[in-house]
Structures are given as C-alpha cells and as structure tokens.
Amino acid sequence: MTRVAEFVAACVRRWTRIYTWGLPPAVREARCQDIESDLWESAHDPDVTEAELATQMVMRLISGIADDVAWRVAQVSLAKSITLRLVPAAVILCMLLLFAAVAPLTTNVPDVPEPPTGARQMQTVIPDPPPPPPPPGAVTASAPTFQYGRTSYTVVTDGRLPVAIKEVQPIYPPIAVAAGLEGQVVVRARINEAGGVTDAQVAPDGILGQSAIQAIRRWEFAVAGNATLRPALLTVRVHFGGSQ
C-alpha cells in the first residue's frame, strides 16, 4: 500500500471513529470492524492497482458521508426509543420493589417473639405441644398477649435438606378469635437459594390465610455446613384455634 493509500485508510478509520462516537460500544465496534475488514480486503485485492486503491478509498469515503451520518442518526434514535421504553419500566420496577420492601413494615402485625431455632433433620416438622393453660387465678401480665397459629412444615428438595433458622409464628388475629373463626390453612411457597421464602400462596384465603402468609414470608432457611442451599418447595400447615 502506498503512503497516500495508507493516509486515506487512516482518514477512513478516523472518520469511522468520529461518526460512531458515543454509540453503544457493541454497535461502534461492529461498524469499525466492518470498515477495517473492508479496508484490508481492498488493500489486498489483486484486481486493484496501487493508484486505483487510494482513489477508490477517497471516493468511497466522501460519497458515503451522508449515509454515515444518517446511519448514526438512526442508531441514536433507536437507542433513545429503547431508553424511553426502559426508563418507565425501570421506574415501575423500582416502585414495586420499594413497595415490597416497605409493605411488611407498614402492616399492623406486631413483632412476634422468635421461636426457638435449631437444626431439624426431619423433613416434616411438627411443633411442640402448646404450653398448658395457666392455672385459674394466676396473675396475667398487663402487656397485650396474642395467640398464634400452630405450624408444621414439609420441605421437598433434591439437595441437602434446609432447616428453618427463623420461624415467625402466624398471629391468630384477635378479630378472628373474637368471631370464633378457627381452622387450618395451607401455605405453599418456594425456598430460594438465599434461604428466603418466595412465591407464597395460601389456601383458603381470608383473614387467617393472610396472617399465615405474612408470617411465613419472613421465614428463613439454611443448610448445615458449607453445602449450597438449592431451591426447594415448602408446604406449611397452620392451625388456628382449637387447643390454643
């Protein structure tokens, strides 16, 4: 390649860098590679003489400038339209995440005492029997007391069995107690790789079901040792009433 042709090729490369400036890196690199390949092929084309080469490159550069600019404008418009679509979606997603994070804090569920934690090796966990009722005439505490649903859960996994390291007990809503509402609800959910409870669904739904699902969403699981927690299916049966 003559020095003139080399100079023209450098101008083509520089112009390509200019009109692709600020575009997404993948788009910019793709165009630069296309031009680089074209320059190499033309420089090694046996049908083109040294004198023709520089002329060809100059003419191809100059006559294509308008199309280069139009291409850039189209790319910028495309990027803008993608951004305009993505921004509202991102805002909505952020609002949903914020709502999901704040919602458990704004509910009227008071803090419940943490249940005793410990590694349970059984797949189905049945709770301890409820404490015996206080003897008649015993002095009751002045602080408000709540009744809780009794839980038992089953975990199905193809990995190491996770155990609950945090079990928030479902509150037996006072209004349900007052109304004499009793029964069992079943919560089905997934345990994710972080040990959290996701995708919880309850049946039957209602005041007892909502209480159960709010508590079980706050459960946390872990596996013993250094094993990795694999996603698992969780079924929790919550019994409200009866021998509370």
Partner: protein, 119 residues
C-alpha cells in the same frame, strides 16, 4: 430516498441480485467488499459503492430479514493475519423473490424488527 412501505430501493434490489449472483458462483457467504465488487461488476462501474452507503443498506436488509450475517471465527482471521470478516448470507425469502421477480424494481415482503427505524 423515501420509500413506499414494503418496497426496496434500487440499491437494496441490486444488493440482493448481487448476492444471488455470488451464490450462483458457489459463494453462499460473502463479506462486504466482495459484495461491493460484485455490485460494481453488475452495474459495469469501476467505482465501488461507498462505505457508508453499502453498510447502511446491508444493515437495512438484515433488519428486513433478507440477509443474515455472522462474525467469522476469530481463529480463522488470526490464522490468515487479517481483520475478522462479517459474513452475509441471502435468506431463502430474498432468494425466492430474486428468482421470481423481473430485474426491474422489485416489491419484496418486508419483515421489520421492532424499533427498526425506516430508511
């Protein structure tokens, strides 16, 4: 140049015809410079299509589904000590239209991708 929806501008038609001619010569895949040379050969010109004009049109045809492209295996380019090529292929859709249409300006079915700006 403003186009009627669903039609190709003469350069795009010429590119499809050139690609079909390359395929008849046994070149199922071709790079941009090969296509530029074939275009000049068909139109009996010495001057090749401009860089900007050629690659912009190739991008439009790809967006319409008339061409497909892939990056060449970098190992091949490295072995031959040259920049990697983008290799284009004429799709079956474009080939069928080129085969059936007269050599005048062709009306071709256009499959536009979402967000693709009109030419």
């Amino acid at each position: 140049m403003r186009r009627k929806r669903g039609t190709l501008v003469p350069l795009e038609t010429a590119i499809c015809a050139a690609a079909a001619a390359l395929r008849r010569r046994g070149l199922n895949e071709f790079h941009g410079y090969e296509l530029a040379k074939q275009l000049a050969h068909i139109s009996d010109r010495r001057l090749l299509t401009a860089y900007g004009t050629l690659y912009r049109a190739l991008g439009r045809l790809e967006a319409m589904g008339l061409l497909e492209s892939r990056r060449e295996d970098p190992a091949i380019a490295a072995m031959e000590n040259r920049p990697g090529r983008r290799l284009y292929t004429l799709t079956a859709l474009a080939q069928s239209v080129v085969d059936q249409s007269p050599p005048s300006r062709r009306r071709m079915p256009v499959r536009r991708r979402r967000g693709e700006a009109p030419a």
